[in-house]
């Protein structure tokens, strides 16, 4: 009886708020189609063998067993992805925060110029390809040319094809682009902190800039810190296009082959969609897990 009553009242409420659903419809239909359904599909298809032309065939855990125990390239691309994520995620995040804090008290005009300058690299898609001009393997690449001029190197270094340097190049370029939306969020948060908070903290015994930073500034921008962290983690784990665009596909000895590259290899080249979906599900879980972990850590700031 009670349940039925509740059901009726929910329906009534829904009817009363009809306009809400109308307003939501255009966005959420597309969101469902291109975000929610793909996630569910990836999970479902990861238990099948599927080549697009025939109907998917259920194979249980076979894809995952293959992935974890027999696919050496998966292990390699996993470790590459972790390496990139560990450098680009935390470093990019810290860089955004430190830079935002450093420019916070500059004169507004100078601050604006610096914000534009630091944000610019993340602005435009694959414009990072200009780095190939820096890393070019012949003597005309800027890095080689300067290295030679200042006597640091004798022979031009093949930055983008020598396995010793490829990873560093990818990390440098990714870091270069890491002062994005999260950085803007930090800049805005710092600007918005109420001076009265500092005043009352001073009375409560905060005596210098560093204490202020830890006990007042960071805690009051916690929501933005969380937002920035989410974006940083998501970005750090989805590095992939940078690798293929800089170092080629496949890169020498797969030195910068990432999970994303591995997935696209199987999905778009070999049409082994089931296997590709297993990789995609793994990556998805990895990102979500990292996000939950960092969220927990960040909640401790200032305590």
């Amino acid at each position: 009886m009670q349940a039925q009553k509740n059901k009726v009242s929910v329906l009534k409420q829904m009817k009363k708020k009809k306009h809400c659903y109308l307003f939501l419809a255009p966005f959420f239909i597309l969101f469902l189609l291109f975000t929610v359904v793909p996630v569910l599909m990836a999970m479902g298809l990861s238990f099948t063998s599927f080549n697009v032309f025939e109907a998917p065939k259920f194979v249980g855990l076979k894809n995952y067993v293959q992935l974890f125990f027999y696919d050496d390239l998966f292990i390699k691309s996993f470790s590459n992805t972790l390496t990139i994520a560990i450098f680009v995620g935390p470093l990019g995040y810290l860089l955004s925060l430190v830079v935002a804090w450093s420019i916070n008290e500059l004169a507004p005009a100078l601050r604006t110029v610096l914000v534009v300058l630091f944000y610019a690299p993340s602005i435009s898609g694959n414009a990072y390809m200009i780095w190939t001009l820096m890393f070019n393997g012949d003597a005309y690449g800027l890095l080689n040319a300067w290295g030679k001029k200042f006597g640091l190197i004798n022979e031009p270094i093949q930055w983008l094809t020598d396995t010793k340097y490829m990873m560093i190049c990818v990390i440098v370029v990714s870091l270069w682009m890491s002062l994005g939306t999260g950085f803007l969020s930090f800049v805005a948060a710092l600007q918005g902190i109420d001076r009265s908070l500092y005043e009352s903290a001073a009375i409560d015994g905060v005596h210098n800039r560093w204490q202020e930073l830890w006990f007042v500034t960071l805690p009051s921008m916690k929501p933005q810190l969380l937002f920035g962290a989410v974006l940083a983690i998501t970005g750090a784990f989805s590095v992939g296009e940078v690798c293929t665009n800089l170092c080629g596909n496949p890169s020498t000895d797969y030195a910068v082959h990432t999970l994303l590259n591995h997935m696209q290899d199987y999905g778009n080249t070999r049409y082994e969609m089931g296997y590709a979906c297993a990789i995609s599900t793994f990556l998805f879980v990895l990102m979500m897990g990292a996000n939950q972990l960092v969220n927990k850590l960040l909640r401790r700031v200032g305590s």
Partner: protein, 291 residues
């Protein structure tokens, strides 16, 4: 020393003069490192052919010319469709995608921010969760869906997903939660205004900084979209794709032209960002994820 002085709303403990100088120094160094590739690209874009072969390369161009920009079309005409086509394609997907994102995301954000209805809590959670992963992760099933909708290899494959970017919806919703006051909405309802009218005549004008931000962010991601997996006809490809093609040629003779294309790619989003940066920062002020 005006540059180093604290502003009204800031810390009680100003940096010491020494600290201020160290701070400026590190910023200067870091800024130059960040700017280096950009400066080199701008230079290269204006270098005549002879100067591209000067060793060691000049960081700053000596005899600037516009030849590289004129050369863009001729380089591409050899083997591909003219770059004009790529530019038109990029403009088209950018225009429609931006429009769709701003309208759809704002409509949805408005009810999520200001109304309580069955399902509203769940949807708010889903949006935050969706920020935690990236569309490229699920590009394989997305491709299958698009194939079934028969929109692979059409501009819709880039436009439709862009319309439903959850980052845009999230930023808009956060902004509306803080800036749009329920009392105003209620007053309008008492006066008999329809929900659609309230949205367009009251809510949207109040949220100008937020929708400017959405315009800029979706502009950036669409303008930089290579079309990747979803588009394979040369005639439908975008400007970033053209850049990728010229760059992968990798010869020095072409580096002038590729720099010119890179500039074409960077300048529009950069200029729009500069023009609207104060609005964007205002929006970002409310961007945080609340616990």
């Amino acid at each position: 020393m005006k540059v180093m002085k604290g502003l009204a709303n800031q810390s009680r403990y100003a940096r010491s003069n020494f600290g201020g100088i160290v701070n400026l120094l590190w910023l200067l160094l870091f800024a130059s490192a960040m700017a280096l590739p950009m400066v080199f690209t701008v230079s290269n874009a204006f270098k005549p052919l002879e100067e591209l072969f000067v060793f060691p390369p000049n960081l700053i161009v000596k005899n600037p010319t516009l030849n590289n920009f004129a050369g863009i079309s001729s380089v591409l005409r050899e083997s591909w469709v003219p770059v004009g086509r790529n530019i038109i394609n990029s403009v088209t997907i950018t225009a429609f995608g931006v429009l769709g994102q701003v309208i759809f995301a704002s409509l949805a954000a408005y009810v999520l921010a200001k109304e309580v209805f069955p399902g509203s809590k769940l949807l708010n959670k889903v949006i935050v969760l969706s920020l935690m992963f990236n569309g490229t992760v699920t590009s394989i099933p997305t491709y299958i869906i698009m194939a079934n909708l028969k929109i692979v290899n059409s501009h819709l494959a880039l436009i439709l997903p862009a319309c439903a970017s959850s980052l845009g919806l999230f930023l808009m919703k956060q902004f509306m939660e803080q800036m749009v006051h329920t009392t105003i909405l209620e007053a309008a309802r008492v006066d008999g205004a329809s929900e659609l009218r309230i949205f367009f005549q009251i809510v949207m004008p109040m949220c100008k900084p937020a929708w400017l931000t959405l315009i800029i962010l979706s502009f950036q991601s669409l303008w930089g979209n290579t079309g990747g997996l979803y588009i394979y006809d040369d005639e439908l490809k975008t400007l970033p794709y053209a850049l990728q093609n010229i760059m992968s040629g990798g010869t020095i003779a072409r580096s002038g032209v590729s720099s010119a294309v890179a500039l074409l790619l960077i300048i529009p989003p950069l200029v729009t960002f500069i023009l609207s940066q104060s609005n964007i920062l205002e929006t970002m002020g409310s961007s945080g994820i609340k616990e």
